[in-house]
Amino acid sequence: MIRFEKVTKKYPGPGNPALDQVTLDIDKGEFVYLVGTSGSGKSTALRLVLRELRPTAGRVYVAGKEINRMAGWKVPRLRRQVGTVFQDFRLLPNKTVAENVAFALQVIGKSKREITRTVPATLEMVGLKDKSERMPDELSGGEQQRVAVARAFVNRPMILIADEPTGNLDPSTSVGIMKLLEEINETGTTVVMATHDHGIVDQFRKRVIELEHGRVVRDEAAGSYGFQH
């Protein structure tokens, strides 16, 4: 589903590359943690999958397509197959919960009928059915992140990318979000989650890919967080 072939990404200016000859393979339906210290290249790897960045060398494949050679106008279509969740939720403050989720469908041209069908179902799945008319600032952090997950998943993407989704949340709320991501993973969606949250990684054992200075130093099925920071 996601495949890196000797991917190197060097940002302009001096310094070591953010990713250095990274090769990895993530299959359809997997749940993968990407761990490593800040600056180890986790976010760069995720941004390459979204084609927010292009590699300096090597190839990135998503769903069988080499995306770094993809024409610019095809990029939106790629992104429709990849849902994204961030540490800072990124909700629109002037829209209700339901509108925030519906926005993701509206702007890719889905019909009103489809939106009224899928948005409530997705909100029910993330446990926010009763709060669909609330504004984001009336929700707790955990609830806001659930809205963000609903928005990322409402279009049923093949891949869900989560960049520190529990970074702003307390441990018990994090467990709730994690369970939600597991549930999404069980529908067949590949989940790639960059995280610093060793509690979560140790509690929900999944494949762990550890990056250090832009290189893969560990790739372990059902691994632990494995280092202190």
Binding site: L50, G72, W73, V75, P76, R77, L78, R79, R80, Q81, T84, R90, L92, F103, A104, Q106, V107, I108, G109, K110, S111, K112, R151, N155
Partner: protein, 311 residues
């Protein structure tokens, strides 16, 4: 494509940056009015030189059957081919002449109908008929102030009734028109530059105000066109309003200043009419303001949105 979002964004966008949009509209309005005036003046100048000749031209009228000049060289009545050949030779030989053109009686008569009052052509025995009207040579000079040689060479020839030399009078008229034309074009150029900068600023502000939405749209895979559409429509709306205001101002100018103004007072000049007005609005060459306005807002918007909302 679902356009509900696009139109609601257009509405909020127009409201949010109302003062900026008004500034764009007003500068567009004034600059397009000036540009339109420039086009109208250009057409007025063209029209004038078509019928009266330019400041570089003198008109050599040839004899008619019953020539009004009563000049001795017209004693033979209508100019003969032989006489014409002789006149042509003299014109051709003169170093002051850049080019010349023969105008038949019919062509001259047609032009006369544009400037002379209608009464003289009407009735069973009109004052002016085709036969009365002289054939002529339009002689274009190399220099507007050097015509003495060719005038004296042609003046006394058989078959030449008179020489019309309106260089001085026309020179003044054209001088005024040219000054006004370039004045409006230069003024309009500066204002159009100001409009461009305002458009660029408006887009920057709008892109800033919408950066969250734009970020999310990019992430969830909205197409670039879809993201840019509210910006383009905003630009188009301001352009349309600007063009409409300028068209109104030009129509007022055409009606009050030309049709019921100058055209009534100064009758010896052929004046521009509504077809010239339409050219100034919708013409292709030079581009009318209905092309100029949208192009000036939409093209920079396209370029800048590519910069600000790069996928």
């Amino acid at each position: 494509m679902q356009l509900r979002y696009v139109f609601s964004e257009l509405r909020t966008g127009l409201r949010r940056n109302l003062t900026m949009h008004l500034a764009v509209i007003l500068t567009l309005f004034v600059s397009l009015t000036l540009a339109g005036c420039g086009i109208l003046l250009q057409r007025q100048a063209d029209k004038t030189s078509e019928t009266l000749g330019s400041e570089l031209q003198i008109l050599v009228n040839l004899c008619t059957v019953d020539d009004p000049s009563g000049a001795p060289q017209c004693a033979g009545g209508e100019v003969t081919d032989q006489q014409r050949e002789r006149i042509e030779e003299e014109i051709e030989a003169s170093p002051e002449v850049a080019s010349y053109e023969y105008q038949t009686k019919e062509e001259g008569y047609e032009k006369a109908q544009e400037i002379l009052p209608e009464e003289v052509f009407e009735g069973s025995d009109p004052v002016v008929t085709v036969d009365d009207w002289p054939s002529a040579y339009w002689v274009t000079l190399e220099q507007p102030d050097e015509a003495d040689g060719v005038i004296s060479a042609v003046e006394g020839l058989d078959g030449v009734s008179s020489i019309k030399d309106q260089r001085e009078a026309l020179g003044q008229i054209f001088g005024i028109m040219t000054a006004l034309k370039y004045g409006s074009w230069i003024g309009s150029g500066f204002l159009l530059l100001a409009a461009l900068l305002l458009v660029a600023n408006t887009i920057r502000l709008a892109a800033m105000a919408r950066r969250r939405e734009i970020g999310i749209m990019r992430l969830v895979g909205a197409s670039t066109l879809y993201i840019a559409l509210p910006f383009l429509l905003e630009a188009l709306v301001t352009a349309i309003v600007g063009v409409a205001l300028a068209s109104g101002a030009l129509a007022a100018f055409q009606y009050f200043a030309i049709e019921t103004g100058m055209a009534e007072v100064v009758t010896f000049l052929p004046w521009i009419d509504w077809s010239d007005y339409l050219q100034a609005i919708f013409g292709l060459v030079p581009p009318g303001i209905a092309l100029l306005g949208p192009a000036l807002t939409v093209i920079p918007t396209l370029l800048l949105t590519r910069k600000y909302i790069k996928v």
